[in-house]
Symmetry: C2
Subunit: 468 residues, 2 copies
């Protein structure tokens, strides 16, 4: 709408070229993708650019029941796809066999039409599934829905539905389980992302090898706070979808996801803004849960705690990997910074301080300027109300380089160090480094980590004229 007129600094701004972030997207061996899934990404025309993938479809083809878990935004203005997916997941008691996603339009603040459109996307995707072996009532859907993009506009729904329908037609069908299919699906999630975000890993439980793969997208409005269904709503657009061929009960799948999301997607910040559409979905289809030709029972926390803990740990590590990709591709980001807070009275205290430092505009502009301005880190730390008082004379701050060289303490027990500025510059000029804040509560105290990026001219440029 409005013409963005940029202000005076052209004459004073010299430039530093930002290297492409695309190297964070690497091909993954086909053998790493979980069995029993078909995926694709197609161009429906939600995005204006010719050929840009904007609708993704993910189907579970396993003959076993597929468990599903989700974490949704806690924003009070939940988008239609969030409302519909939460409803479907509830009605199906943690089962679902498909996911459909569109980028380019968030289907948020779109009233009754928006709900109808999200429901139509789910139903159209159901038609791609093999005849129902799920035992679900025909009144509901087996598809979870995600949308991301501009708020307050209706979806071009007929374009989206015919794109989904194209996958029923042999000549146009692009569904597959190779790298190309997974990458197409990942690309269909992208908005202001500069590269598709796709990862995969293998893991073992009780001697059986399973696989897990997933994709996510982010870039802006990234400061998620997601809870399990029915915990209530949020708004920022982070979308992610993870698939595994392990068999795990719906209840345990949800518990593992809730734990993992708190330590991964709920511990990243690009700009401190929470979206109406944030959604992380997790499917477990049991396609590989077989040993010596015998189908294994679903893993459940109650009956096999050890197996559950292995799964939870693998999932947490995997979600952290995916979450970090979002920060690396943060709008205008030139730095990837880990904020670690240790020695805190509780995990929540540590997490709250890490979040505050990670969202401080002054800290983030200092990171952009490569300035070891620990005063701003300290001010942010001190501004957080805690469960018990902070002892200023026990707090230490250290800048830790990512290249394995010696860390640089800047504050020890509340006393500023004489800082070697050349060394500080060296560390701050790295693309990756860590800010370590020790509140001095000792090794038995709690710790939390957050991942953030810097605040640049480019961030202001991207968000000053997003709608234009």
């Amino acid at each position: 709408m409005s013409r963005l007129v940029f202000k005076r600094y052209s004459s004073t701004i010299t430039t530093k070229s930002t290297p492409s972030k695309a190297h964070h997207h690497q091909p993954i061996p086909v053998s790493s993708f979980p069995s029993g899934y078909l995926l694709t990404g197609v161009h429906a025309g939600v995005k204006k650019k010719a050929g840009a993938l904007d609708v993704g479809v993910i189907l579970s083809t396993s003959e076993r029941p597929t468990s599903a878990a989700a974490c949704f935004t806690r924003n009070a203005f939940k988008a239609a796809p969030v409302i519909i997916s939460e409803k479907i997941l509830g009605e199906n008691v943690g089962r679902a066999r498909a996911v459909v996603v569109n980028s380019g339009c968030a289907n948020a603040v779109t009233g009754a039409q928006g709900i109808e459109d999200a429901w139509a996307m789910a139903k159209e995707t159901d038609a791609l599934l093999s005849p129902n072996s799920s035992g679900l009532p025909p009144t509901t859907s087996q598809t979870l829905v995600m949308s991301t993009g501009v708020i307050g506009q209706n979806l071009p729904i007929s374009k989206i539905l015919s794109a989904i329908r194209s996958q029923r037609d042999g000549s146009q069908q692009t569904l597959g389980n190779d790298f190309n299919a997974w990458e197409r699906a990942a690309k269909a999630f992208m908005t202001t992302d500069t590269f598709p975000k796709l990862r995969a890993r293998k893991f073992n439980i009780n001697g059986v090898e399973y696989r897990m793969a997933g994709m996510d997208k982010g870039a802006g409005m990234i400061h998620p706070d997601m809870g399990p269904p029915a915990l209530g709503p949020l708004h920022a657009t982070l979308l992610g979808c993870i698939m595994t061929d392990a068999a795990i009960s719906p209840r345990s799948l949800q518990r593992a996801l809730t734990y993992a999301v708190e330590r991964s997607f709920n511990s990243i910040s690009v700009d401190g803004d929470m979206s109406t559409n944030d959604t992380i979905l997790l499917l477990a289809n049991g396609a590989a849960a077989e040993k010596d030709g015998v189908k294994l029972k679903e893993i459940d926390e109650g009956t096999d705690r050890e197996a559950f803990e292995v799964f939870k740990r693998e999932l947490t590590d995997f979600t952290i990997d995916l979450a970090k990709l979002v920060v690396r591709d943060g709008e205008g980001a030139t730095k990837f910074v880990t904020v670690t807070v240790k020695g805190a009275p509780t995990y929540e205290d540590a997490h709250r301080i890490a979040s505050r430092i990670s969202t401080s505009a002054l800290v983030k502009t200092a990171l952009y300027g490569e300035d070891a301005n620990w005063g701003r880190v300290l001010a942010a730390t001190g501004s957080v109300p805690l469960s018990s008082p902070l002892h200023a004379n026990k707090v230490s701050v250290t800048f830790v380089p990512s290249d394995g060289s010696i860390p640089l303490p800047v504050l020890i027990n509340g006393e500023p160090e004489k800082v070697d500025e050349a060394r500080a510059s060296e560390i701050l000029s790295l693309e990756d480094f860590e800010i370590l804040v020790d509140l001095g509560g000792g090794e038995t105290a709690e710790a939390a980590q957050y991942w953030t990026c810097d605040f640049s001219y480019e961030y202001v440029r991207i968000n000053g004229d997003y709608r234009s």
Copy 2:
């Protein structure tokens, strides 16, 4: 320290010249200043620039006892002047006769030396006062201390002490009560401020005319959360000092200030960062509390509630005026935006949402880009946990121009309006406007206001190389 290298966008950035903000600083008639005060600002050499005023002194010369009240940062890393001032005010049970301030160095995170230096500033200023008629024990001080500037560096204390001492020497003394003296004091508060912030007003209580004048400074690290002494610590640098010639008891003065600060300085945000030094001081010396030649008793909430309410209202309006000046001069700011939230379940809910909108990086970059992006306003609104659930279908958002022309509704009862984009551009291109969010709780529900500015390239520039 680090050399700030700016990034690629020079070629894409066209410029818009930012008009000087200095017109917000206007001369004030001498008759508007309260009686019984002497002020000055001098160059001590804390600031490098030759002649830049960096030490301010304010003395009460009234023969009546001077009441003093304060609100200090709640940051856990309280700067030395905050610790000392809080202690002195406590020991004196709400009495003080002088204020000393320095800019250029915050005396924060400076350990035992910092405490000693703040104490020395107070003692040196005591020596400028007429022989003690305060009845205070000689072990404490009658001076409150404020500092602002870089964190983690010791004050050049001997330069500061000799600057204060110069005011005892007839030839160099510049203390006065004219516009020039008040302006010099206001200039001594400035750091990245582009103009001194000085205001004055007259008011009547029970037929007696009183005056109130004050100054403040801000620019960056502005998101105060200040409480009365002993409520605990914060960190951002907002400093302000208000003087009146009314007579009011220390207890009632503190209550009025706490109320006023919540609705003024604690309702502004430049960058969402809270400082270690935030301090607002208020002196009431009773120099004008005389009617028909008879000295009036101190106003007290217990004995004259009506007079107290008048004073509280005048003070609140005055602190809002001063607080707005800080936002107008926010680092890199090109817009002055009022955020009003009404129809909320409680004042705290309304205040929390207004604060969240005012600090949203996405909202603030959209303001800079003059984009009526109500989706971001809504996302910020929905991300705040409230005392009772928000009804998305009752929420309305309106852009209100400051020129008295017709407001533009963009969302009514949760439904997006067909927005006239030309009209939206017209409003958003104004320097001043209001974002009005109505949660739909009706006219009896609670409301709160916040004042904020936009987020510009200039903000990133200023804070990317502040220390360099």
